[in-house]
């Protein structure tokens, strides 16, 4: 009896979970990309628009979610960051235009 109740409960929870995943599918698909895009864009602006030291900018963009690869190409003023399995780049476009995600 107890087993039947817990199985039913489990099934209900699973259905609810799948329902939620389906409802949030667009947001969930985009979610892992946030940290790499955020870090690339805001680091680029910190370094090349606000012209702050590289070390300061690394601290400035730090969030609780870690990033694994970080590549700043100063000649191109381009930053590529990976995290949670996604990768994003941002590039400095000019004095007025600042940085933009690619």
């Amino acid at each position: 009896m107890m087993r039947k109740v817990s199985l039913t409960l489990m099934a209900v929870l699973l259905v609810a979970l799948f329902g939620w995943v389906w409802q949030e599918r667009v947001a969930l698909r985009a979610f892992p990309g946030i940290i790499s895009a955020y870090t690339a864009k805001e680091y680029c602006s910190c370094r090349y628009v606000m012209q702050q030291p590289a070390e300061y900018c690394r601290g400035y963009v730090k969030q609780s979610v870690p990033t694994n690869d970080f590549l700043d190409t100063p000649e191109a003023k381009r930053i590529t960051v990976s995290g949670l399995g996604r990768s994003h780049s941002a590039r400095w476009m000019g004095e007025r235009q600042g940085c933009r995600l690619e």
Partner: protein
């Protein structure tokens, strides 16, 4: 004799104009003030900075203009007088100021439908430009940054699904209310305005318009305003100015849209900026929305967000503690840049201490 009388008002006007200070290439400054009130202000704004935990109040810049003169300036952390600091949502009020110039050029009216200038909004024919300035588009927008990243419309707009075309991303949201009825703070509304401006001033002028309309006349030489991939200014978030340059915009607003002898922005535009949105209700935000500016007074007189500041105080406010405060009755403009990550900074406390330090110290 009659000619002589005629000249007197002109002479007085001239004296009056000469008595008024305006910045040239640089601000003219007064000797740095000292005393217990300044110390109290600094004890609040410039506590020792904790870069390891990033806790507490972390002021990057504090600058005070009184009567058009620089009376106080201090920087901390890596920011200095030449740093074009990220303003975050101060950008929204800057966008409104740029619109003010276009308004003076009679390029649009506030009750024009937004869809006239940004066709993807034709699903919402009742939405006017004024509704967008009041953050009352009625679009179902979620303005959260770090705390609810999954459902945050603003995070998706800036970094993921919306980053290529932020206005189009915003226009794709459903409505939760008819336009103009309910205040809901939205960076999306600001970027719809930024996209509408492209049609309002014409695509050929658009890319330079913030400079030709506002920054150049004010003598702002180093401003950055980032765009999305479609070329639309990120009107919600990404303008960068030095503290000294942001103060120029503050002085323009303090003096009702006039810069020197030029009425750069019509007075009725400034009045709209400073007029509380009547549908705002207590508790919906930390200050009262005007026309893309924040006010210390509401239609409901019991609402006073910053009780220790005069009721005519208004401000442009941004994420992580950015602020441009304008107090016309005290002839004060205050720029405060910061990197506050924990929300402990209080506008009222800063304003209270700044009023104690500066209000009434200079007689006109």
């Amino acid at each position: 004799m009659s000619k002589g009388w005629f000249l007197i008002p002109l002479l007085l006007l001239n004296l009056n104009a000469q008595a008024e200070d305006w910045p040239g290439e640089q601000w003219s400054s007064s000797p740095p003030p000292t005393g217990p009130a300044i110390e109290a202000l600094e004890q609040y704004a410039f506590v020792p900075r904790d870069d390891a935990t990033r806790q507490g109040i972390r002021t990057d810049a504090l600058l005070v203009i009184q009567d058009g003169r620089l009376v106080y300036e201090r920087y901390a952390g890596p920011t200095d007088a030449h740093t074009p600091h990220l303003t975050w949502s101060i950008s929204k009020s800057l966008l409104a100021t740029v619109f003010g110039v276009a308004y003076g050029e009679k390029r649009f009216a506030l009750d024009d439908p937004a869809a006239r200038y940004y066709p993807p909004l034709k699903r919402h024919p009742g939405m006017t430009l004024a509704d967008l300035f009041h953050w009352a588009s009625g679009l179902d927008w979620q303005e959260d940054y770090e705390y609810a990243p999954l459902n945050s419309s603003v995070v998706a707009m800036l970094y993921t699904r919306g980053s290529h075309d932020m206005a189009a991303f915003t226009a794709g949201h459903d409505s939760f209310s008819p336009p103009g009825q309910v205040f809901r703070y939205s960076s999306g509304d600001s970027n719809l305005l930024a996209a509408a401006l492209k049609t309002i001033v014409g695509p050929a002028s658009y890319a330079d318009y913030p400079w030709t309309a506002l920054f150049d006349p004010l003598g702002i030489r180093h401003a950055t305003w980032e765009t999305d991939a479609s070329g639309t200014f990120v009107g919600s978030s990404y303008a960068y100015l030095t503290a000294r340059d942001l103060a120029r915009v503050g002085l323009l607003m303090q003096r009702d849209g006039r810069w020197g002898d030029r009425q750069l922005i019509p007075k009725d535009w400034i009045a709209f900026s400073r007029e509380p949105f009547t549908r705002f209700q207590a508790g919906q935000d930390e200050a009262v929305p005007g026309g893309h500016w924040w006010l210390n007074r509401a239609a409901d007189r019991t609402i006073r967000p910053w009780p220790d500041a005069p009721p005519d105080t208004f401000a442009a406010l941004g994420h992580w503690g950015q602020a441009l405060y304008i107090i016309p009755s005290a002839r004060l403009v205050i720029v405060r840049y910061g990197d506050d990550r924990d929300g402990s900074y209080r506008h009222n406390e800063l304003l209270k201490r700044a009023m104690a330090a500066f209000a009434g110290t200079v007689q006109p």
